[in-house]
């Protein structure tokens, strides 16, 4: 088996330009690696035939960018025309979309090749990829562990070098947390940075699509491709910048804030130790590192439950068995169709969240809880923005734990949200946030840190991340792919 997919994008690009390899070689290698690691269950639907054909079509085209001809995995809540899109749910088991998401049009234009649709928690509701109708994805570092979630398939696929790039989506940590569990770089961009048109909505005011990659530079490259205003998404914003532009630039005198809440003792000691090492490193480089307070950051989980579940209950109302997707076969009447379609089509976690959301918006609850949550959310965002008046970036851990065993905590609602306790505030405030691998636990599981920026300060995040990445020079390849076959 070839090992082109272990190379950097620059190295692959050289081979393509010099005609040493063709895009098809890369696609074939991706599928060989999938085949060799079937138990990983990173994909729900493979796109083999179309990917090979596309590779063939690209063969004679000019290599226009570093992402040209590169295999990519797409989280299965991103709509792909003519390629089954399930969002990890039985509800959409038979759903063949008739349009492409904006990001899909952009990665196609950039010459990337879609290998398949990555596994995920059903409708992105979960933090371990165990709520998927298509079975859990496994963590490439230890296949008895969860990869995190909800973009667990995307994280596992990139970590195991099946594709160099994946797209994920992040509503409360769904890119950053699995990236930390799998040892990859994952960015949730600023709300509005990437068009959400074609992302199956979980919570519209929190969702963002973002790149998941093996390193910082490649992450910035993908963001360059997928960002920008779309006429299809009123909340998207025009940006015209190169996210790689500050990579490698000196970080001296950078001012870094750490929310006190982000170093509390519910966080795994090994994670705190790794973060301490980073703090030392930054201070050695003349960075200012201060501990700060951010209003209501400790209340983010209950706020999130109100807002995200409320929006989700409305967003998922459209799955009713009438226009697309699963439909109960012999309904007595329309109400029977609704009740049974949604009972059978949704999994337990999704139903639970729809019930919570419906409850919290019903009757007087909307004024008691929902409006109140929106008001506090405003204060929380303002508190974050105040910090950024004095600091360049905020750092902290990404997750409170490293990857945990499959099967654990599936039914513990509170614990499930605790996974996201450090990532949720970033979504609530609409900020960009990244997971950067910063080390390993004693049992050699990846540990990640979170770097949070002011709105549209992604370039600065990449600047700091690239510095730390270079200093640490970690080996983040779990070395699975194909070794067993040799």
């Amino acid at each position: 088996m070839n090992k082109y997919l272990d190379l950097s994008l620059q190295e692959i690009n050289n081979l393509l330009i010099n005609k040493k390899i063709t895009p098809k070689d890369l696609v074939i290698e991706s599928f060989e690696r999938i085949e060799a690691n079937k138990d990983l269950n990173g994909f729900i639907t493979l796109n083999k035939e179309a990917a090979l054909k596309r590779a063939e079509d690209l063969k004679d085209q000019e290599v226009t960018s570093l992402t040209f001809g590169i295999p990519i995995a797409i989280k299965d809540n991103i709509i792909t025309k003519n390629l089954r899109t399930t969002a990890g749910s039985k509800m959409l088991d038979n759903f063949i979309p008739i349009y492409d998401a904006d990001v899909i049009e952009r990665i196609n234009e950039a010459g990337m090749i879609i290998i398949g649709k990555a596994n995920m928690d059903e409708f992105a509701m979960g933090s371990s990829t165990q709520t998927s109708y298509y079975g859990p994805t496994k963590n490439p570092w230890d296949k008895t562990l969860v990869p995190g979630g909800s973009s667990g398939g995307s994280a596992a696929v990139v970590s195991s070098r099946i594709t160099p790039i994946a797209l994920g989506s992040d509503t409360g940590g769904s890119i950053r947390q699995p990236s930390s569990f799998c040892g990859i770089v994952g960015l949730k961009p600023t709300y509005g940075r990437v068009s959400r048109y074609g992302l199956i909505a979980f919570a519209s005011s929190l969702d963002q699509i973002g790149p998941m990659t093996r390193n910082v530079y490649e992450n910035a490259l993908v963001l360059n491709t997928i960002c920008g205003k779309s006429k299809n998404d009123l909340t998207s914003v025009e940006t015209n910048e190169d996210f790689t532009r500050l990579i490698g630039k000196d970080i001296k005198n950078m001012k870094i804030a750490i929310p006190k809440f982000y170093v509390n003792d519910t966080i795994d000691i090994e994670i705190r130790q790794e973060l301490d090492n980073i703090i030392t490193l930054l201070k050695e480089n003349n960075c200012v590192v201060d501990y700060v307070d951010i209003k209501y950051i400790d209340k983010a989980v209950p706020l999130y439950q109100i807002i995200a579940m409320g929006e989700a209950s409305s967003n998922l109302a459209r799955f009713d068995g009438i226009r697309y997707g699963y439909s109960y076969e012999n309904p007595k009447d329309i109400n029977d169709l609704y009740l049974k379609t949604r009972k059978n089509g949704f999994g337990n976690e999704v139903k639970r969240r729809i019930m919570i959301g419906s409850y919290l918006l019903s009757g007087k609850n909307a004024t008691t809880y929902y409006n109140k949550a929106l008001a506090i959310r405003d204060d929380m965002r303002n508190s974050f923005l105040d910090i950024f008046k004095n600091y360049d970036l905020i750092i902290g851990p990404t997750a409170t734990t490293k990857a945990y065993p499959l099967g654990q905590d599936l039914d513990d609602a509170v614990k499930a949200f605790m996974d996201d306790i450090l990532t949720i505030p970033v979504n609530m405030a609409g900020l960009p946030g990244m997971n950067l691998p910063i080390g390993f636990s004693k049992d050699h599981l990846p540990i990640g840190m979170q770097i949070i920026g002011a709105p549209f300060a992604e370039a600065k995040i990449y600047q700091l991340a690239s510095y730390i990445e270079k200093e640490l020079n970690l080996d983040l390849n779990p070395n699975l792919g194909g070794d067993d076959n040799e």
Partner: protein
Amino acid sequence: MEDRLTKEEVLHVANLARIEIDDKEIEMYQVKLKKLLDQIELVTKIDDNDSDYLIAPWNNNSEFRKDEVGNMLNPKEVLQNAPRKSGNYIEVPVVISNE
């Protein structure tokens, strides 16, 4: 204070959500929804200083779309994913009204 919602309250929510639930689930939600409510109760105790809402972290106001007709689907495409159809129409079981 009750430690659970009434069965009727849970059934009302399930009906709003149009999800059929069985007795075991009703019982589960009676407890779970109440527990959740207690957890988020603290939110109502917060005295925030201003009354501004953050509906979403928008970075801009709405722009408007020009009133020009764009691409449309043909009826065949409309019906492509529909489980029940008749002619050019999507079909549903009739709505029972209490007329």
